[in-house]
């Protein structure tokens, strides 16, 4: 059967539903590891029939969850999936491409190809072979929601966010070392929310000795989401902590998909110098300290030309009196 070419408004509608699926995928972050955090929406006549997201530990997959919820109503639906459906059956369940076709889904819109060699194009091919219309979109929202999985696949390391709480003039503390608090309660609560979105959290040995921070998530209902604690050190880690020796080798963190680096200045600089930061999260307080302790030590950049072009500001938002600046690496 020949299919009509999609119109501009079809495309806008598809992108909107994919963005909704990407929002759902957020529920699986980082609990789905080692599997990707995927979101799926089944839609018929512009109505949501069912929703799914990867469950804790990676199974059921998002598509399986949505199909289970939909039951017979899946027939005739379009499935919006942030990642290409898997094509390999496993002991834990049938493959999603097969299940979608068998349930009568007539169209699948895919937000991002799967780099896993067991799927990589074969999910889409299987769907097409079974007569399902497959639309592949380069969907920014899908890609962002899969950042941890895609970074692990491409670089064999987690997606790394470096968090900095800075004054206007870039300080993390007074010259005396006083650092509590640079930012206000809204910004600090947001930091806890970010912690809950990460598998692992890391600080430097100096910060561990000086502050002995708990680094847990203190938000009602999210306490169990506290990430695994790591310390950057040449020595051993104390009880309840694990040791990372070198930011240039993050393999000990496997299979973590998301690492949250909380400082101090030497640790921030070590990760930046190793080119191991994907996202900068700057909580900026409206204060001037003047001659205080700066947030980032030497990172081995020797010219301004070398400093430019590495970061782009993706978003800013107000958090009480403070401002959150989110930068992402340009390449």
């Amino acid at each position: 059967m020949a299919r009509a070419k999609p119109t501009e408004s079809d495309l806008i509608r598809d992108r909107r539903w994919l963005a909704a699926a990407a929002r759902l995928a957020e529920r699986a972050r980082p609990l789905s590891r080692p599997n990707p955090a995927v979101g799926c929406v089944l839609v018929k006549d512009d109505r949501v029939i069912a929703r799914g997201w990867t469950q804790t530990g990676g199974r059921p997959h998002a598509e399986q969850m949505a199909l289970t919820v939909a039951g017979d109503a899946a027939r005739g639906c379009t499935a919006y999936v942030t990642l290409e459906p898997c094509a390999h059956d496993s002991a834990r369940g049938p493959c999603c491409a097969g299940s979608l076709a068998q349930a009568g889904v007539v169209r699948v819109v895919v937000g991002c190809p799967d780099p896993d060699p067991r799927t990589a194009g074969q999910g889409n091919a299987m769907l097409r072979a079974k007569g399902v219309d497959v639309v592949e979109l380069a969907c920014e929202a899908s890609r962002l929601s899969l950042a941890g999985y895609l970074t692990r696949a491409a670089k064999n390391r987690p997606f790394v966010t470096l968090k900095l709480a800075l004054s206007i003039d870039g300080c993390i503390a007074m010259a005396s070392g006083e650092s509590q608090w640079i930012t206000g309660p809204d910004a600090r609560a947001h930091t806890h929310l970010e912690r809950s979105r990460h598998d692992a959290i890391l600080i430097g040995a100096g910060t561990l000795r000086a502050d002995a921070p708990r680094l847990d998530v203190r938000l009602p209902g999210l306490e169990p989401r506290s990430p695994e604690r790591w310390v950057l050190t040449h020595g051993n880690a104390p009880d309840g902590w694990r040791a990372l020796h070198d930011p240039a080798d993050l393999s000990p963190l496997s299979p973590a998909q998301y690492l949250f680096v909380e400082g101090g200045a030497g640790t921030a600089a070590a990760f930046l110098a190793a080119d191991a930061v994907d996202r900068l999260l700057v909580y900026r307080a409206p204060i001037v300290i003047g001659g205080g302790r700066t947030g980032v030590a030497d990172i081995g950049v020797s010219s301004l030309a070398g400093a430019h072009g590495r970061w782009t500001l993706r978003d800013t938002r107000r958090l009480g009196e403070d401002t959150l600046e989110e930068y992402v690496r340009t390449a």
Copy 2:
């Protein structure tokens, strides 16, 4: 004649016209000195009849300009004026309160009282005595547009803006001293626009020696707006420059209403330490320098509690790759 109480929609309309008058006043900044930069709009049946703003050197006043443009059409108008009309005749012209009444203006909406003791309430009183309806609003836009005049009246010094061009981590230069450029062409052009809005511009003696900057306005048509150049020094100023010895005593700058401080770090710190900064203009580049030269030296703040509560973020905007952060002092 008893007048009807203004409704909520009257108030919204009044505030909108006052904001338009404040925008007009911007044309007079800083050329109106030593007089305030005032804007005036004459309105009848929701239509603009005439506009005026303080002319170079301070005369004619905004109201006189608008009345001249309007001629007989001023009869029956409402006048929106950012500052209370003057009540004192001078050798250079009659007082504005008298002129407005004589021209048949029936209502005057005033955005800000005049602290000048020759007017201070007497302008409004004269209008009322002549049967004109006077509405006094506390108008933020009017107050902001008069910042230089009001600061001079209250503190006998200009309104001081400290400009900083900073990296994410608060540096103004590499550790080597390389500083051209932190920010991109859009941010630098915006700096020139800001220069044109100031009477006077100041840098430190170290920056003058190192960079010998021209500090002029390099925007087509605005070259004549280049501000008077000042250097912070204990010694003498070179040709074409004037010397300021102490940020705690800005009286040598009189009658300037707006001072633009462009650095370096020592000068920024000296002005902050003297509590002589009203507005921080931070051009933030999306770069991390790491261990570079910081933008603000010691300002004598010894605790975080002492650093908080002094600044509030009023506005941010994108300028190419960079971000402009505008902070104003809280009190």
